[in-house]
């Protein structure tokens, strides 16, 4: 049991943390009725994905023991690092997620703009109230 725990939970703690946050975000994005809460959920979802992706790049975990360092060093070539052959963190996931953050910010901006327009039109940002309003319009159309 302890072995299983060590192998699957403690060693991969970054996955567990990221996945928990991802599920929280996904739940909020799917299940909440308030449009802003949905958006907050979406942001949590995206950010947790960035967290997970960046943690992929952390390859120097074993270095912690031998050299007393916390993970790999920053991916910068400096003399001491080259001489002693430090393991450095993979820089690519960080760079990719910088782009991802830009995309996520743009998505949030577009979504917020739409929420504002929805509020101006319906006077509410609760999804069920908006749907009810639309249903009334349908009924009015059907009855002439």
């Amino acid at each position: 049991m302890m072995e299983w725990l060590a192998q699957h939970v403690l060693e991969k703690y970054n996955f567990w943390i990221a996945m928990t946050i991802i599920l929280i975000g996904l739940y909020a994005a799917m299940a909440k009725g308030n449009l802003l809460k949905k958006l907050i959920g979406l942001s949590i979802f995206q950010t947790a994905m960035f967290l997970w992706f960046i943690s992929l790049g952390d390859v120097g975990r074993d270095v912690m023991v031998t050299w007393g360092l916390k993970g790999g060093t920053p991916p910068i070539i400096w003399e001491k690092a080259v001489e002693e052959g430090y393991t450095y963190v993979n820089p690519l996931p960080n760079v990719l997620m910088l782009t991802g953050i830009v995309v996520s910010a743009a998505t949030t901006a577009v979504a917020l703009a739409i929420v504002i327009r929805i509020y101006q039109k319906y006077g509410t940002i609760e999804e069920d109230e908006i749907l009810e309003r639309e249903l009334q319009e349908e009924v009015r159309y059907a009855s002439g």
């Binding site: 979802f45 994905m49 992706f53 995309v103 979504a111 327009r117 908006i130």
Partner: protein
Amino acid sequence: MLLAEQLPVIIVTVAMFCGFTILLAGYLNKKSAFWISLLANIVFFALSILTLRHVLAVGPIKYWQGGWRPPWGIEYVVDAMNAYLLVILFFIVILIEIYSKRNVEKEIEARKHPTFYALIQLMVAGLAGITVTGDLFNMFVWLEIASLTAYALIAVAGGRALRASYNYVIMGSIGAVFYIFGVGWIYAATGTLNMADMRILLPVVYDSRLVQMAFAFIVVGIMIKAYIFPLHFWQPDAYTYAPSSVSAMIASIHGKVMIYILIRLVYSVFTLDFIRYYIGLDLIICWVAAAGILAGSVFAIKQRNVKRMLAYSSVSQFGYILLGIGLSPLSPWGLVGVVAHILNHAVMKGCLFLAAGSFIHQEGKWDIRSFEGLSKRMPWASGAFAIAAISMIGIPPTAGFASKLFLILASLDAAQYPFVVILLLSGLLNLVYFWRVIDRMYFVRHEEPTEGGNEGTRRLPISMTAPMMVLAALCIILGIFWLTDIPMPLINQILSDLSTGGRL
């Protein structure tokens, strides 16, 4: 030739810059926005034809961004499939833009025009970017450019389009994150993001649960974006309430490019062997597609709004493409069906949405029950609608018949007979819901209000009729084109490029 090597990147970057140019020029002169956009897209169309010719004559074009060699740098690769899709993309965009001039003047207030055309141009740049890139993460960025602009374009219509667009934002972003999840998993397994490189490295880890998970995440993400049946919920609302020209553009090319991502990943990155022997997903894909074909048609039957009916019909038609993908490990005809249907559906659905949009533009009629006598008042638009509808049903000699024929040949060749029945049944269902409209337009007796007198002023502008007629004519020309020998070199090139990766 030096220029040909750089064509893909020229198209994409210039299209991107055009988006901003339109915005700037629009501040000076509102009318210039449309003309700049149209001119730019005509130039890109010419360039994409050059690209296709170069690819067919010489072979795939590879461009290294910034001169960095592929596994490290971002590589743009254009093989026959990409070039073919680029030509379709710009051709349809030109036609819909010509149509949109008068339509947008009516549906959208004048001060928003420059923004509207800038967004269209950016969306086209995003779609072209997805098409030419050979890098999985770069594809995500282009995917988001294309999607973000699509969210905004749908929301432009205001009213209910806002809620539809908001649902699309939430679902689309979740889809994009799923895609990037999958890319992250395979990056962890192989350490590369370049498609050609990944194709070489993946076979070693086909057995790994990590890679299989990655494939599942990517497929689900793309299925949301390409509104394939069980994940299509955001799509009907978005198509119904968006401005007519935007509906046409998104229905005919946005979805195609989205499903191109799936095709590229299935054929060139993961390969058919992986699908068939390691995860055994090919028949499951076929059955999902079959469910989509039938469900989309059944939903379409009960719709009153013509645009919503067409939206559900799109869900059904994407099932055809997915069915072709699912059948292709068993039979080469599957891929032929996919290639043919991408073009055919873009033409047919573009024509249908343009015609439906012109009914709304001219008479404000979106309810199918109020279509009586439409054929008298708008003969050209109704004619285009009828031809495209007949093509959707699949009566020879139309484009829809050709793609159905290829798919039926594929199912016979693969000895998967249930799908033959499903394809024929779907033709019947198409007949049911399209005939309803044609019947209303042509055969229901209608009392003309005699005191009109404004017939002359209510004629549909030629800039709106012409694109529809071109597409309607293409529905018939393509039907014959696919059955001749002329497209064979193209199809063969696409088949070999896709199945060998085309990039090695």
